[in-house]
């Protein structure tokens, strides 16, 4: 069965790899991968902020609750979270949930747990004196958090967020399992049709993922240096 590598299969399907069935059908391929990652990243940032702030709340019950949520989510494989969403979302929404949204919700829930750790660390990295100073000027603790601590903390968190975004891009590959036509799914479709080029196809998409992820990893490192420098 060894026939040497033949990459023509990539070029004949290159449009499909990049945009899927778009514009005649749904968007797919690399474009969908990026779309899923960007949307879930924004949502999980918000989710992470909530969970993270819950985790440093003075209220014991809230703190307790956030720990519980964190432990459950972080204890589950992402694949399991996707299956749960796949199973529960339509039930909660009364049917007809787009699979892309199933995956976005799963990724959001999953990544929020990790984002919250970043938020927590970022906020805790700001000297307590700052909060105390803010409080002494008569600000409410929440105001101190929103106007004084968070903006500074956020800057420290940026590199970690970018890293999380890279994980997110890699994680979108699991959307394949519920039939969302992102890059990995598109690749298996082409592989299923052409049958004898798995090496070329999977190597090609590995390289594509690598290029995208490496670009963001480098960005994160650059940011880390730059932001640390100014401090």
């Amino acid at each position: 069965m060894q026939t040497g590598l033949d990459f023509t299969v990539i070029w004949t399907n290159i449009t499909y790899f990049f945009i899927g069935r778009f514009p005649h059908g749904a968007l797919g391929g690399i474009a969908l991968t990026l779309y899923l990652a960007v949307i879930s990243c924004i949502l999980s940032f918000i989710g992470g902020l909530f969970l993270g702030l819950m985790g440093i709340s003075h209220n014991k019950i809230i703190r307790y609750l956030s720990t519980a949520i964190l432990n459950i989510i972080r204890g589950m494989p992402l694949l399991m979270v996707i299956f749960w969403m796949y199973f529960l979302l339509p039930a909660m929404m009364g049917g007809n949930v787009n699979e892309s949204w199933t995956v976005i919700m799963a990724l959001t829930l999953f990544t929020s747990a990790y984002m919250s750790q970043i938020v927590k660390a970022g906020v805790e990295g700001i000297p307590r004196g700052q909060t105390e100073a803010a409080l002494s000027t008569g600000l409410h603790p929440w105001q101190a958090m929103i106007y004084i601590v968070l903006p500074q903390g956020l800057r420290n968190m940026i590199p970690s967020f970018v890293n999380q975004f890279v994980s997110m891009i890699k994680d979108t590959s699991l959307a394949f399992i519920v039939g969302v036509s992102e890059l990995t799914h598109v690749a298996t479709q082409i592989n299923n049709r052409t049958i004898i080029y798995p090496t070329e196809i999977f190597f090609f998409i590995a390289v594509i993922y690598f290029i995208i992820c490496y670009a963001f990893t480098s960005l994160s490192r650059w940011l880390e240096k730059r932001l640390a420098w100014r401090r």
């Binding site: 069965m1 060894q2 026939t3 040497g4 590598l5 432990n71 459950i72 972080r74 204890g75 589950m76 494989p77 992402l78 694949l79 399991m80 299956f83 749960w84 199973f87 890279v166 891009i169 890699k170 994680d171 979108t172 590959s173 699991l174 394949f176 399992i177 990995t184 690749a187 298996t188 592989n191 798995p198 090496t199 070329e200 196809i201 999977f202 190597f203 998409i205 590995a206 993922y209 690598f210 992820c213 490496y214 990893t217």
Partner: protein, 235 residues
């Protein structure tokens, strides 16, 4: 409309319970094998990454970047379906006689995780003061020996919590092996769903197992952090 009827007996006894149990067994087996290999490989890569020889260092760097920045799922597909073209026929034939889906999952998990482990070890080593290595070298140890006896044992101790987290990730990531037909826990949960249509029960059972496993390990790390590491740092 269809009413969902709960039937927990599906997952607590009988044939399907046995499926889940055997799935758990495979998950543990797969994870343990991959943990051992990925730790060893991660150690090697970390040392190569810190080597003085430029080509070695560059190779390790490329390895780390490539495998950390590619989805595990794609790597699993690559090893299982794609590797046959780049391997000699003899090896392919031999692999095919074995449980290659299990083997491919071990290879993918090992390589993927080793890249993360190597980075954790490296930052562990960096936290050991440079003078220690210099002192070891000047007292006649070779680079490898001073790493082996002086630096690594300390670094590993510091690295244990992040390492265990990586092992935990690996265990969770092993669920992806279901895509190539390894009958681990997630695979079996799905299998139970498609035979009985009791997805809710099957997923709950599998989720509980994963969560309990992870909570136990997290508690162990916290304990280790408090009891072993903190006094060490305070010293």
């Amino acid at each position: 409309m269809l009413k969902y009827q709960f039937d927990w007996s599906v997952v607590t006894s009988g044939k399907y319970f046995e499926w889940l149990l055997s799935g758990l067994y495979t998950t543990i087996q797969l994870s343990l094998v991959a943990i051992v290999f990925s730790f060893l490989l991660g150690l090697v890569i970390a040392m190569m990454r810190m080597s003085n020889a430029k080509p070695v260092r560059w190779f390790a760097h490329g390895y780390l970047e490539f495998f950390r920045n590619t989805p595990l799922l794609v790597q699993i597909f690559f090893w299982y379906f794609g590797s046959y073209k780049i391997l000699p026929t003899v090896i392919n034939d031999w692999l095919n006689k074995t449980n290659f889906e299990f083997g491919a999952a071990v290879i993918a998990l090992t390589i993927y995780t080793s890249a993360f482990i190597a980075e954790d070890i490296r930052s562990g080593v960096r936290s050991i003061p440079k003078e220690q290595l210099e002192a070891a070298r000047s007292s006649g140890f070779s680079y490898v020996r001073s790493m082996q006896y002086i630096i690594l044992p300390q670094a590993v101790r510091i690295t244990i919590p992040p390492l265990i987290n990586q092992f935990l990730n690996l265990t969770k990531n092993s669920s992806l092996a279901m895509t190539i037909g390894v009958m681990e826990l997630t695979y079996q949960a799905r299998q139970v769903e498609s035979y009985t249509f009791k997805g809710f029960e099957a997923f709950t059972a599998a989720t509980l197992v994963y969560v309990v496993l992870s909570i136990i390990i997290t508690l162990m790390v916290t304990y280790y952090d408090k009891v072993v590491l903190s006094p060490m740092k305070a010293r």
